[in-house]
């Protein structure tokens, strides 16, 4: 029978380091892509990949809205140029716990409800949706 090493081999360690490096690279790329801040921004609400709400957010915009998600309603609050999920009727409430988002590129995703909310720059309005 083939004798197998009980602990990590050199190749394992290399793989481990590669995975750590890969996650670092991914993290840096995300930070860079989210880095450019902009005063003019739009809040976008998507359900199942379709944009259901899209509106400008300024510093003094304050509103609440209830969106019908795939399965349950979700209440979103916009205030002081930030937004958050105020109330959601999902089991683990991860979207609520995530709190406020403010910058373009930041997003809150609710997988069971297929709901995504995020900010985007007003400038790049060339692309406003993804279709199948």
């Amino acid at each position: 029978m083939l004798m197998r090493k009980r602990w990590l081999t050199k190749a394992d360690t290399r793989l481990l380091i590669a995975v750590i490096l890969l996650s670092l690279v991914a993290y840096v790329m995300i930070k860079i892509s989210a880095g450019y801040a902009s005063a003019e921004k739009q809040a976008v609400v998507e359900v199942s990949g379709k944009i259901v709400r899209q509106f400008d957010v300024a510093e003094d915009t304050a509103t609440r809205m209830t969106i019908r998600g795939k399965t349950r309603p979700t209440t979103i609050e916009v205030q002081k140029g930030r937004m958050r999920v105020l109330e959601a009727f999902c089991p683990d409430q991860l979207c609520v716990k995530q709190g406020w988002i403010s910058g373009p590129g930041q997003s809150i995703v609710c997988v069971p409800n297929e709901l995504v909310i995020y900010f985007q720059d007003n400038d790049d309005s060339g692309l406003d949706g993804i279709t199948r």
Binding site: T9, D12, L16, E46, S107, V109, E114, V116, I130, R132
Partner: protein, 186 residues
């Protein structure tokens, strides 16, 4: 003399390989993997991150891959996901598709690692499997909800795959020698 058409074949110097034997061992592995999956779903998630869990059932997939190869490993992994989802009640939900994609992708990658990189230990193979499991889930999630923004979660899931993969790999590493000694032939 047992006639060949009854499904009995004799491998040189090995035990009789019967259809019944194969069915029994398949059932055994699938049941074990399903039970571990259901057990884990009942426990509160020890990690404060969504989508991150230990993945004890992965240990069974690794054992099946090392003992029997890709075809059986893949079948056991896919059926495990099906039965776990039926028992937990997530069949055909978003989570089911995520698990299925993750399980199939990680099994394929682990089989590739075993074949192509014999320098990797069982724990290394398991780690590769755990990381690709998370990666597959994320890709499937982004396809299902049609947004690239979910990839913000990629670094977290990649890193989470390391400790969980090493843990399940270590379990498989401890079990493999015992199973290989009296390897049930299917």
């Amino acid at each position: 003399m047992i006639p060949v058409w009854m499904g009995l074949r004799v491998k040189q110097g090995e035990l009789l390989m019967t259809k019944t034997r194969k069915i029994v061992y398949y059932a055994f592995f699938i049941t074990l993997a399903t039970a571990l999956g259901v057990f884990e779903a009942m426990l509160p998630n020890p990690f404060p991150l969504p989508g991150v869990k230990l993945g004890l059932a992965n240990t069974i997939t690794i054992l099946a891959l090392y003992l029997y190869g890709l075809r059986d490993g893949l079948a056991i992994a896919a059926l495990r996901v099906l039965f776990t989802s039926l028992l937990v009640g997530t069949f055909l939900s978003v989570g089911f598709y995520l698990s299925l994609t993750g399980a199939v992708l990680s099994t394929l990658v682990m089989a590739l690692c075993i074949k192509a990189f014999p320098v990797l230990s069982v724990m290394g193979v398991s780690m590769a499997g755990a990381v690709t499991h998370n990666l597959g889930q994320l890709v499937m999630a982004s396809l299902l909800i049609q947004t690239p923004y979910i990839f913000y979660y990629l670094p977290v899931l990649l890193l989470a795959g390391i400790p969980t993969g090493l843990a399940t790999g270590y379990l498989a590493c401890l079990l493999l020698p015992h199973l290989e000694e009296k390897k049930p032939h299917i």
